[in-house]
């Protein structure tokens, strides 16, 4: 009998869960992520990707991270190419369907320099949810019969339901060491409100042993307390709050900006020509060269920022 539950409880108990100011810099937050950690990313595909934190982790030369996310887009390329991670657990991994298959993902996985561990989309969600619920697994009716489950071996067990005799798969809990989640707004304590698409973020925050929030803006605790039913992530799960406007660029943040399509087209073209050199050059120009997140945005370009914001804000125009 293993004791992951008692370990989880002990880790949780040791966290400082008071209502306290957690605002810090990107760099200070990056220091909360250790080499070898399992890091879960909030958002999905090109939405609310915690790019500012990923940018900071690449710059800090973090190593050996296991990454998990519902669906992985260009941030997966960046994590592989930078050497920050050689192991990504997700259900789908490429820039996005309009750009075809990620050549960077192909390059690193086909050469076996990195691993893309494939789970079904709902399985990823139920694994985080099991972790959020303090359970060792959740049962499900998906994944059976397929090679996706078979390839995962003992990680996916089966059981016969004692009530109905049905076959069920069991999906083991994920309790990430750290979760990186980008939100439109939160207070200094980490109470976060998330508009629109929620993805798996609430479960990820609840499951993780440490949560770093990046936020488009910090609002007062008073604003949170005026609409407590809009809080999606409670402060006691959160360990760091970093205010980073456009912190998901070049991906989107609901209601604020859409993806920076031009930048993503350029990226796809550059990495399609030569996945390794293309990605390295991209990292050099956009990750290592700029002195700050504002410099990074400046390189993407003011026109691109304004265009993405105009499109993002238009969601309520009609």
């Amino acid at each position: 009998m293993s004791q992951p539950y008692l370990d989880l409880r002990a880790k949780t108990k040791a966290r400082d869960r008071r209502l306290r100011d957690k605002v810090m810099s990107l760099e200070a937050a990056a220091a909360l992520v250790g080499d070898g950690d399992h890091v879960a990313l909030g958002g999905c595909t090109a939405s609310r990707t915690p790019f500012a934190m990923i940018w900071a982790l690449v710059r800090a030369k973090r190593k050996g991270l296991t990454i998990s996310r519902s669906i992985v887009s260009t941030e997966g390329d960046v994590l592989f190419a930078s050497g920050v991670s050689a192991h990504i657990m997700t259900s789908w991994f490429s820039q996005g369907i309009v750009w075809g298959i990620s050549k960077v993902m192909r390059h690193y996985t086909e050469s076996k320099r990195a691993r893309f561990e494939e789970w079904s989309h709902m399985s990823m969600g139920l694994r985080y949810r099991a972790g959020a619920m303090g359970l060792p697994f959740l049962p499900a009716r998906s994944m059976m019969g397929s090679d996706v489950a078979a390839r995962l071996g003992d990680e996916v067990r089966k059981m016969t339901c004692p009530y109905t005799g049905e076959q069920l798969v069991l999906l083991p809990a994920l309790n990430p060491d750290v979760a990186l989640i980008h939100v439109p707004r939160c207070d200094a304590y980490g109470n976060a409100q998330i508009d629109g698409l929620q993805f798996m973020d609430a479960d990820i925050a609840m499951a993780a042993n440490k949560v770093i929030l990046t936020t488009e803006r910090i609002i007062s605790n008073d604003q949170i307390r005026r609409a407590p039913d809009h809080t999606k992530i409670p402060f006691f799960t959160v360990d760091a709050v970093v205010e980073v406007p456009y912190g998901s660029a070049p991906h989107e943040c609901y209601g604020l900006y859409e993806p920076f399509f031009g930048h993503m087209d350029d990226y796809a073209e550059q990495t399609a020509r030569d996945p390794e050199a293309g990605a390295k050059d991209y990292l050099e120009r956009f990750y290592y060269a700029p002195e700050s997140w504002a410099d990074y945005l400046g390189l993407i370009g003011m026109d691109a920022v304004l265009d993405a914001a105009r499109r993002g804000r238009s969601i309520t125009n009609d």
Partner: protein, 256 residues
Amino acid sequence: MTENDGYTASELLAVMSARLLEDGQCVFAGVGIPLLAATLAQRVHAPGLTILFEGGVVGPFVVPGELPPTTNEQRCTRRANMVMGITDVLLLLQRGYVDVGFMGGAQIDRYGNLNSSFIGDPDDPKVRLPGTGGGNDISSLTQMIVAMKHEKRRFVDKVDFITSPGFLAGGTSRGDSGLVTGGMYRVVTDLAVLGFDERTRAMKIAALHPGVTAEEVRDNTGFDLPIEAQAPTTEPPRAEELAALREFDPERLYIA
């Protein structure tokens, strides 16, 4: 199928699969042709069709000219009735609220199993594909419509890897595996509409598109493909269907 017929292969695919959707159904649609076809069905013959996107969206109206790049960006929430978490929207499939799942496919075999994970040996693949996304869950938990280009390299005797289960090894093997509901309903291609034998669960030709012969379909299929007795010929895309499609996708992201 070329522009000479007045429509592209993708347009034909979108139109033919849209027609399979019935008014009143809840359809779980993937991005690309499925999203386009579901939207088309809703505007043309199935106003009571409820579209679900795996990003967590219930009953949106896709805005013409603003097709979302995936089902996980804000564009797919436009004028939706509800937005929920990803896990919760996928659980609607398991709970049984979804009538039909609708997606594209990279590779399919005679029993309707789909592969979107590996070309070649999974341990040493020729191509690492993007993976299942919601595909495995959707095809495990509801009845499926798949839309894809009809090419021999895509219609193979046995997929290299079962990402999304069809009828597995045929017969009762799907149910035996624990998947007690769902299964392949139709595969729509630019050449034909394909169904599955009730008993063997092997693929067969259910209808041919205008000007296409069974021979032509078989030439583009990597396994033996019988044709149903009296398989009809589908009605060509109508002008209103094509006009609606082109209004949705003026940049021809998906219908080129």
